[in-house]
């Protein structure tokens, strides 16, 4: 049995957010992943981000596919509905859920196998449809749950634990997301929560398709010295191109920012992102430049992290297809069913 209820222990000194909730209220069941798994750090970052945003957990829907990553939603936001669907199909389930009720926050959790192999088609199309969701890939370059086979994001230069070479070039999901029209594209590292938490908060505040590729080492199968998805490698080669401050809607910006090195981005809900450029050649609002930055860094063996690309004015799927602003699952049947008189006129046209 691998479901372990986490005992809920409240300490009077625990910090409370605006909703009067503590971190405990944002936790889920006990993780059953390997000790030291990067995914657990991402789980912790999601909990922290939701806590800090004062997010009512029941207004979040967590949806995943299959794999170690897709088990992770069990371990956070126990007060949210979750849906652990089938392999590679999280995007379609999330799309349908969002069509039914556009008012919830949709947090999709996937892995590199789930997204870059079996689910590549659904990934491409959910980006293209600009679904208003946060799509998190917990990216470890391997199939953990089936014991360490290469995934499609594993670098060509990165052999297996046993030393077998990887013969194929990796799929870069951030580049794909930018090319396919994602409005918010970020890459981060599970070991860098100071970068990751603001990115998650910003992704939640963003209306449109927000993509977060988080390098998340697999301690059991892909954390060896030759791996490019190991803790040591990513720490050594992580090149943050910007530093992000997420400023909630009602808050004032208190720090002075240098116009030349900082970019302010206003989101639909009124919250703002303050981006401090660490790489002066990078403009996060220029898709071509973002692609260039990712490629140039990758060619040097580095991993460009941070908010790589953002489009402040993206329309989401509902805007594009023109659905009602009301949640479709809450419209009374009396409004949906045209009734018998209307049916009589439909019959008349078929005579």
């Amino acid at each position: 049995m691998s479901y372990i209820q986490k005992p809920v222990a409240y300490h009077p000194a625990l910090k409370k957010n605006a909703l009067g909730l503590t971190h405990r209220d944002y936790e889920g069941a006990m993780s059953t992943l390997c000790a030291g798994c990067g995914h657990d750090s991402i789980t912790a970052a999601i909990i922290e981000a939701c806590f800090e945003l004062d997010l009512p957990a029941h207004r979040v829907a967590k949806i995943s596919g299959i794999g170690c990553s897709s088990k992770a939603p069990t371990y956070f936001l126990g007060r949210s509905h979750g849906f652990n669907s089938v392999h590679g199909r999280m995007p379609s389930v999330t799309t349908g859920a969002n069509l039914a009720n556009r008012e919830l926050v949709y947090l999709g959790v996937s892995g590199d196998g789930d997204t870059a192999s079996i689910g590549l088609g659904q990934f491409a199309h959910v980006v293209r449809r600009r679904l208003n969701m946060i799509y998190v890939v917990m990216n470890n370059g391997c199939y953990g749950l089936t014991k360490g086979q290469f995934s499609a994001t594993n670098d060509r230069t990165s052999p297996s634990k046993k030393g077998d070479p990887n013969p194929f070039d990796p799929i870069d999901l951030c580049q794909m997301a930018i090319q396919l029209g994602a409005g918010f594209v970020a890459r981060s590292f599970s070991g860098d929560k100071r970068q990751l938490i603001p990115l998650i908060k910003a992704a939640i505040g963003y209306r449109g398709f927000a993509f977060l590729d988080v390098i998340s080492p697999c301690v059991t199968f892909n954390n060896h010295p030759a791996s490019t998805k190991s803790y040591d490698y990513v720490r050594a080669h992580n090149q943050a191109i910007d530093k992000l401050d997420f400023v909630p809607e009602e808050s004032e910006i208190t720090t002075d920012y240098d116009e030349g090195t900082s970019v302010a981005v206003t989101l639909h809900d009124g919250s703002r992102l303050m981006l401090h450029k660490l790489d002066q050649s990078h403009d996060p609002r220029d898709a071509d430049a973002a692609l260039m930055t990712i490629r140039r860094r990758a060619a040097e063996g580095e991993v460009a992290t941070g908010l790589l690309y953002v489009d402040e004015n993206q329309q989401d799927l509902h805007d594009v297809i023109g659905t009602s602003p009301r949640p479709l699952n809450a419209i009374p049947m009396a409004e949906l069913c045209p009734g018998s008189a209307k049916l009589e006129s439909i019959n008349a046209r078929l005579r």
């Binding site: 049995m1 207004r59 829907a61 069990t74 652990n84 999330t94 349908g96 659904q122 069913c337």
Partner: protein, 601 residues
């Protein structure tokens, strides 16, 4: 036997030549004259240039099944002359375009030559018009030959081309040219002809796919996610059309979302996501789509998510005959997906039932928290059927099933997503966002306990599977009961049928009775089988199971799921892709009975 208001007329044309609208106008005119009519479009999987046929059966008695033996062939396609002429019954007629005159190899039919291309060439200079109006010239000629009511025909043309007045005038010109030619050159009308009648009064003409879409509208469906595939595409397209007409707010925003998915996997995945989140959602597909959707159907079955699927069946296996009809997905749908999986199926017999059962499917899906598949086929889905008008009871309450809202959760003690509180196998579900700290659960395709928690305890998983089986037993009492037609309570002969074969079977029962054989009949409307299904089989010694697939899939399902003795179930299968004829049913039963037995009856 053919004669006034009783004949079959067939149009052999080339697809993409504009014949479809002319043929439709022909059938609609017969219908508006009050005569029962049944057109069948026999078309290629192609857009332009291949042979296509349109068969129209006219039957004052109201027999709507396809009938072999063509009384009047309109042969407009030289590619198929040889087979078209062979189909005409002795004493029948063949109308053809004699602009290029030819000798026909049969003495026993009457040939009606009309220089259609030459007539059009004299009238119109534009090559496209010359081509297009050829179709209306033969309709005009037929109006004289079979005595169509000219005013009714003109009314049909005006309705069909509403808003295109110039086109109406040109079509009427073409009709006049054909009509005048026929009146001048032939003895009009022919012995096979039309006469105003009452059999079609009050009825409507509609395709099953349009009716299914309307059923979804009336059921309150708000999410339609689909992937194009013949012959189901027009379900989603019709739904989208109805959303524009019936579900658009004053601000132009729609009270439904229609999304064309990237494939069938995504189409069903989206519908399941929407169903999970409390919207009434559906997809429409055909055979290959069922194969692709199977994994997701298993998830929805096991995680207990309501979703409706319209399967407009076509010829299989594999890509098969995409533009021909079959009932060959019975097994694939009943047991779609791996593991112990079973699904609720509904079998509409005509467009009227595509509407009524289509709407009911949504109630059943939410009541049972499981996928419900509506199995029609290409014949019902894409052909225009004369059927009873749609009816809706405004007092009807949509059954949204067992859903706990915030107030319900506050009252519920020890709520568990998969706990069977009522003994019917159906547990209470909750929707995301309903309550700040109650009712959240983790929907999963992995083994789970009654609180939706992952478990690897085999006994807990077995208990859950037993409960879902119990739910299926509940389903057997909720789905529509079969329709039983008793011709003779003493008869030991029965026939079981479902779906599009209804007109052929009903006609065959009349013919058999005329032969002195009285057969009782049962039309299955749903799976799992109501108790009445087995009772009917038990009450008869020999039961013919009529179906349109090679392997007698419904017969097998009756044996497996209703426990009917296979020895008494006689397969009557036709799988050539064409709508079934009464002659097939009659001859199958007569052949089985043998000449001696028939005499003895």
């Amino acid at each position: 036997m053919s004669g006034v208001n009783d004949f079959v007329c067939k149009f052999a044309t080339v697809n993409g030549s504009g014949s479809a609208s002319a043929n439709t106008m022909f059938a609609k005119t017969v219908f508006r004259m009050g005569i029962p009519v049944s057109p069948k479009n026999i078309f290629p999987s192609n857009i332009q240039g291949l042979p296509t046929w349109y068969e129209v059966r006219v039957s004052e008695k109201g027999y709507l099944a396809r009938r072999d033996g063509i009384d009047l062939m309109v042969a407009m396609n030289p590619q198929t002359y040889r087979e078209d002429v062979a189909e005409v019954v002795p004493g029948g007629w063949l109308l053809y375009d004699s602009s290029m005159p030819r000798q026909w190899p049969r003495e026993d039919i009457e040939v009606l030559p009309i220089p259609i291309a030459a007539i059009c060439a004299r009238k119109w200079s534009d090559p496209r018009q010359r081509q297009l109006f050829k179709n209306m010239v033969y309709v005009g000629a037929l109006s004289a030959l079979i005595d169509m009511d000219l005013d009714v025909l003109k009314g049909v043309v005006a309705d069909q081309l509403r808003g295109k007045e110039k086109l109406v005038a040109a079509n009427l010109d073409a009709i006049a040219l054909g009509r005048d030619y026929a009146l001048t050159h032939f003895q009009c009308p022919l012995p096979i002809r039309l006469r105003r009648a009452e059999g079609a009064r009050g009825k409507i003409m509609v395709t099953g796919n349009r009716a299914a879409a309307l059923g979804a509208i009336y059921a309150g469906a708000t999410v339609c996610t689909w992937y194009p595939i013949t012959p189901s595409t027009s379900v989603a397209e019709a739904f989208e059309g109805y959303v524009k007409r019936l579900r658009t707010d004053s601000d132009g925003k729609t009270l439904a979302a229609v999304v064309q998915a990237e494939d069938e996997l995504a189409a069903i995945g989206m519908a399941i996501g929407a169903g999970w989140n409390g919207a009434r959602a559906f997809t429409a597909t055909s055979g290959p789509g069922i194969s692709l959707m199977s994994e997701f159907l298993g998830l929805a079955y096991f995680a207990e998510v309501p979703v409706v699927l319209f399967n407009v069946q076509r010829g299989g296996p594999s890509t098969g005959m995409p533009t021909r009809t079959q009932q060959s997905d019975i097994m694939a749908c009943a047991y779609a997906s791996h593991g112990d999986t079973k699904h609720v199926l509904l079998f509409p017999s005509d467009p009227n039932e595509c509407f009524s059962l289509g709407a009911e499917a949504f109630d059943l899906a939410e009541r049972l928290q499981t996928p419900v598949m509506v199995l029609s086929d290409l014949d019902i889905g894409m052909n225009e059927w004369m059927t009873e008008p749609f009816a809706w009871d405004d007092a009807r309450v949509h059954d949204r099933g067992k859903v706990l809202d915030a107030a319900g959760l506050d009252k519920a003690l020890d709520w568990g997503r998969y706990r069977d509180m009522d003994g019917d196998g159906i547990a209470y579900r909750t929707l995301p966002g309903a309550h700040p700290d109650k009712g959240a659960f983790f929907t999963r395709g992995t083994s789970h306990d009654s609180f939706a928690r992952y478990t690897e305890d085999g006994r807990v998983n077995a208990d859950n599977l037993r409960r879902i089986a119990r739910k299926f037993e509940t389903a057997a009492h909720l789905v529509p009961k079969p329709e039983v037609l008793t011709r003779d309570a003493r008869s030991r002969l029965g026939v079981v049928y479902f779906g599009a074969t209804q007109p052929a079977v009903l006609e065959a029962l009349d013919d058999l009775e005329a032969d002195g054989i009285r057969v009782n009949a049962m039309r299955i409307k749903a799976f799992p089988f109501s108790p009445e299904v087995k009772a009917f089989c038990d009450a008869h010694d020999r039961v013919f199971v009529v179906e349109q697939n090679r392997d007698a899939q419904m017969r097998a399902l009756l044996m497996i799921e209703a426990g009917v003795d296979g020895d008494k179930l006689i397969a009557a299968v036709n799988f050539d892709g064409m709508p079934l004829t009464a002659a097939f049913v009659r001859s199958t039963i007569r052949t089985y009975m043998g000449p001696v037995k028939v005499a003895a009856e």
